[in-house]
Amino acid sequence: MTKTTLTIDGQLIQADDSMTILEVCRKNNIPIPTLCYHPVLEPYGACRLCTVEVKQKGRNWSSLQTSCTHPAWDGLDVQTNSPEVREARKMVMGLMLSRTPNVPVIQELAAEYGVTEPPFHVEDPNEKCILCGLCVRVCNDMVQAHVLNFSGRGADRKVGPPFMEKTRQCLGCGACTIVCPTGAIDIVLEEAGVYAAKPLGPTSAIYVPSLQAVPRVPVIDTDSCIRFRQYDRSLGQITDACGACQQLCEAHAIDFTQKDEIVELNVGAIVVATGFQMWDSSKLSQYSYGKSPNIITGLEFERLSNAGGPTLGQILLADGRKPETVAIIHCVGSRDKNPNAHEYCSRICCMYSLKHAHLVRDKTHAQVYEFYMDMRAFGKGYEEFYERVQEEGVVMVRGRGAEVQVLPSGKLRVTGEDANLGKLVAVDVDMVVLSSAIEAPADASKVSALFGLSRTADGWFAESHPKLKPVETNTDGVFLAGCAQGPKDVPDTVGHAGAAAAAVLGLLNRGEVTISPATAEVNRTRCVGCGDCLLVCPYTAIARVDGKAQINAALCKGCGTCVATCPSGAIEAWHFTDEQIIAQIEGVLEWA
């Protein structure tokens, strides 16, 4: 790589010979139009639009060259906008426009060179592909899925998968749609069928979690990132596919080799605040969740309405229109005896449904129908808010929304019983919001095993006492906060969490802890180290130390399970030793 000096449009510019003329121009803000160029992909030289006039060092005649491929050699004299160049670009755009007359970006570029009508016979007015090869290069060189390529020669050239047939090799990554300059490629989600909506979640594998994230830096979702997905089984490592983010990051902040850090801490107290997840609304097929992009859950509505969301807070249908009618259905998956739903009440939905109804009225003035069974407005100011929402003209239908049908027109028909009227009602709306149940997260069983927690029948973690000990668990030192223990809204969560924090502080400040003396102890001489007691202790109070069992008296509750289990009889329970129990029995029998 040697430094070079070249003249571009009369200006002397410093560069080096590893750059192309186009790269030098881009760096120096000299405009050159391109179609088949992308900074992250190898230049191809297909569209010929970036043509410039070049005089080689020491020669007095010039030739037309594509700036995207020509190296920035020393002594070049380049004209980027001479009459020769403009004439060539004009003809190129004339040819392009005749091939794809209805593509906006081609029309605009052609107009810049004075071409407003296709100068040649138009064969297919719907043609969008200009055969620039960007999709081919991104799919083969970057994503390395090797799905797209050229076939056919000359005027028969076309782009597509082998034999133009759908292939499972396609990852649906969308890289081709992003690089295509004319919008000739669409991504279609096959299972959903109708999807063309803006996604409510992250749109790429690297994304900033939210505008409120701390620290506010992007993260890579390794489940969807192409580089991590293209795992090379033969080498046992991830491939070097894509890596576009790393190439584009000017701060060189991306490091694909980062590994999870495992940190070991010795602590005196643990607060489990693992929250909730949304119940999968497609489990009850009568609500048609997933069959239309306009049927969304309460959480998805929250994202839609969020000022930092995909629509910047506007309530819009999937195709970008404002809804004129919205239905909100309560108790979807809650208070439901169906085997794949929950019997409990999810507590938060009535109030957030009212909030959503209010937001829809406020932002779109759409007609809102709320299908509810009971209105649980239990908190401070809640009942008053319910009144206010009714006054805003939201139609309250007292009766469970029974079914949502997707009509051929795209509208959604909600059917239910209006218990006040005593009849079945149906209403056709543009958007349906399902106030779906919340439930314990999918990995709750793993968490409970890890911390020795039990779970109540409804799946949430078990508190020590439902009335008197809402933040403690049966394992000393492990506390619960928030929805981990059961559904609750924000004020209640704050209260609950404060209680957990107080309990922790109390524990840590005590210095000394008074515990029940009825604990078990291991006789190390007798213990053979079989490990059975470790498996049965419900309070994870036993550990293996130097090959033998050892009981942590602070954790031990004296339940006696280990005492009964030990095959060597090596464990004794204080105050419940075999001698003491036998003495008690003898004492009782004396009376008999």
Binding site: R48, M91, F120, H121, G152, R153, G154
Partner: protein
């Protein structure tokens, strides 16, 4: 094995009809007990394409043409047994019909200088012994044992040899660049793709004298420091592939390929790679992509192949004919080679002289010879009654030299200055029955098929140029078509990625330069004077000249000519398909080619008087026409179609 047979029967035209009689020939020789004395050799091309099959009996070099299976008994009896000549099979000179007995007495042969082709038709191509016997591999021995690589390069540079593939780049300089390039592994490549329609020089060379190419490549490998060579042969030449394969294997057996060749501590291997039917793979960067197993698409050549070519290694690619020149230069010296040809173009060139000449075929001539000599003295001139109109050189990348300019010497520079190019050696002679607009349409159609499609200017531009030319030939051209054609030609030539695109407009540009009037006639007058563009012509019999001989009636495939014997005949304009058979058949110049517009409602509206002189289409529009009723009032001069005439 030393066999002392007394004569060889060298049979050429193996792609023609020779295979029909070769078995019979062998049988007859066997039957006459001559199998020990006479050897039948299937050999390469001698070049007399319209007189095949040909065979030579050497010694003494008796040359027979138009041999068929029926002639075999007579040949064996008269010539092989009795030593007499079969007169009727001898070559007859085009002028004077004088019969010539020996090949080297033929005047067409005398004007040639067969250096590269000297073994074609003389030896058995796959026999390395015969090749060595006529001096083959001496040059290799000389180079490897008495010269250094740099000395070999210096010799090639001094000789002035230029690439025979068409571009004419100085071969010595290319070798030098490859030698100087960085890299331990280098390659030499022979381009045997020969895609130009009408070109078959490389074919004859690869089929008829494969060892000459191999020897040249080994010497080249030694000079540039390459140990792996490739010959890229188009798949449509299976015999070339076969013969090259046999030759490579034999060379290996003789230690001329492989490890430590001739004890000079030089290793060299050659592999054959077959093409897959793409003209664009004759372009050097596309060819290398093809060898690498990729799609044959050219790349921008800012970095030359001599720096980074095949697999990004320094590669020296030359045409097959260029390689075949190398042994001769090493053997006889650069000065000898430089003494042939012109100041800037040294040596000889093989051409395929085809088209409207009496003696078409494969020839090899010194540079500097005039086109006129080639066409008239070697080619035997045009067929009786026709006049030469132009000579097309350089295939689809070349152009047409008009008849007035045929005195120009054949040389790289003179041909480019005239708007054509040397090309790989195709030379098509055209007469007055060739439409120059149709010729450029033909070449564009070929190029549109063969364009790889990568760059927009060639892919779309050539297609649109073809559209315009097709419209011109169909009579649907607009006034704006010619300026648009010129603008397209300019951009396609200046902005395309590779040589195919850059030279695609050449046929159009050169025919526009010399035959502009024909384009104008096609567009404005909707008239094709040579009768080729059928939508633009009609055929009319001139009463005064027609003697009613009836030859045209027999020729007409539509039964569309009527008339009684010795009475003037008439062409039925409704039945006429405008094939021109009647025009070709008539010996009295009585059939005229007129613009189609002159036919209205099945009748020729304007009676025409013919011109004097030999049969010459271009007919009525060049001479005053009497008794004309032109509704447009053009009076006296028959230019242009009558206004309001229906088409």
């Amino acid at each position: 094995m030393a066999d002392q047979h007394r004569a060889d029967v060298l049979v050429s035209c193996l792609h023609g009809r020779a295979p029909e009689f070769i078995p019979a020939l062998r049988e007859e020789i066997e039957r006459r007990g001559l199998a020990e004395e006479v050897k039948v050799v299937e050999t390469g091309c001698r070049g007399f394409c319209s007189m095949g099959p040909v065979l030579t009996i050497a010694p003494p070099g008796t040359f027979y043409t138009g041999v068929t299976a029926a002639d075999i008994p007579e040949i064996v009896e008269e010539t092989l047994v009795k030593g007499r000549v079969v007169q009727k099979l001898l070559y007859k000179e085009p002028s004077g019909r004088k019969a010539v007995q020996r090949y080297d007495e033929i005047s067409a042969f005398a004007k040639q200088q067969r250096i590269v082709l000297r073994n074609c038709g003389m030896i058995e191509p796959t026999s390395i012994e015969e090749y060595i016997a006529v001096g083959g591999y001496e040059a290799l021995g000389k180079a490897l044992t008495t010269m250094t690589p740099d000395a070999v390069i210096a010799e090639i540079k001094k000789s002035g040899l230029r690439g025979r593939g068409g571009a004419g780049f100085a071969t010595g300089r290319k070798w030098e660049q490859t030698r100087q390039a960085h890299g331990d592994v280098k390659h030499v490549i022979a381009n045997g793709d020969e895609g130009d329609p009408g070109a078959f020089m490389d074919r004859a060379l690869m089929e008829g004298d494969p060892h000459s190419v191999i020897e040249g490549m080994i010497i080249g490998g030694f000079a540039v420091g390459a140990s792996q060579g490739y010959i890229y042969v188009r798949d449509e030449y299976p015999l070339a592939v076969k013969n090259l394969g046999i030759a490579i294997a034999r060379a290996k057996e003789f230690g001329l390929l492989g490890h430590d060749i001739l004890g000079a501590d030089f290793d060299f291997e050659i592999k054959i790679v077959r093409g897959a039917g793409a003209f664009v793979c004759g372009e050097s960067s596309a060819l290398m992509q093809s060898i690498e197993g990729k799609v044959g698409e050219p790349r921008a050549k800012h970095l030359h192949a001599t720096e980074r070519g095949l697999w990004d290694r320094p590669s020296c690619l030359n045409n097959v004919e260029t390689w075949a020149n190398v042994p001769h230069i090493i053997n006889q010296g650069a000065e000898w080679f430089a003494s042939i040809g012109t100041e800037r173009s040294k040596g000889t060139k093989a051409f395929c002289l085809v088209g409207k000449v009496r003696n078409p075929g494969l020839i090899e001539v010194p540079m500097g010879i005039s086109l006129k000599t080639i066409v008239n003295e070697i080619g035997g001139g045009p067929p009786r009654g026709r006049k030469i109109k132009a000579v097309q050189t350089g295939g689809p990348s070349g152009g047409c030299i008009p008849a007035e300019m045929l005195d120009i010497p054949v040389d790289y520079e003179t041909l480019s200055e005239a708007g054509s190019m040397m090309g790989s050696g195709g030379m098509i002679v055209m007469d007055d029955r060739t439409c120059m607009v149709d010729i450029s349409r033909y070449f564009l159609e070929f190029l549109k098929d063969e364009s790889c499609g990568k760059c927009s200017t060639c892919r779309e531009g050539v297609k649109r140029m073809l559209e315009i030319l097709t419209n011109i030939c169909d009579g649907t051209a607009k006034e704006s078509d010619l300026p648009m054609l010129e603008a397209l030609a300019k951009t396609v030539a200046s902005s395309s990625l590779c040589g195919l695109g850059k030279s695609a407009p050449n046929p159009v540009l050169s025919t526009l330069r010399y035959f502009h009037k024909e384009y104008e006639q096609h567009i404005h007058d909707k008239y094709c004077a040579s009768g080729v563009c059928r939508s633009l012509v009609a055929y009319v019999i001139t009463e005064e000249k027609c003697k009613g001989c009836g030859l045209c009636v027999k020729a007409c495939p539509q039964d569309g000519i009527s008339g009684s014997l010795k009475q003037p005949h008439e062409i039925d304009q409704v039945k006429c398909i405008h094939c021109g058979a009647c025009f070709d058949a008539c010996k009295l110049d009585a059939v005229q080619i007129v613009p189609r517009a002159m036919v209205v409602d099945g009748k020729v509206q304007v009676p025409v008087i013919t011109n004097e002189g030999p049969k010459r289409p271009g007919g009525p529009l060049d001479v005053p026409v009497r008794n004309v009723t032109t509704p447009g009032g053009n009076g006296g001069n028959g230019h242009g179609a009558p206004k309001g005439a229906k088409r």
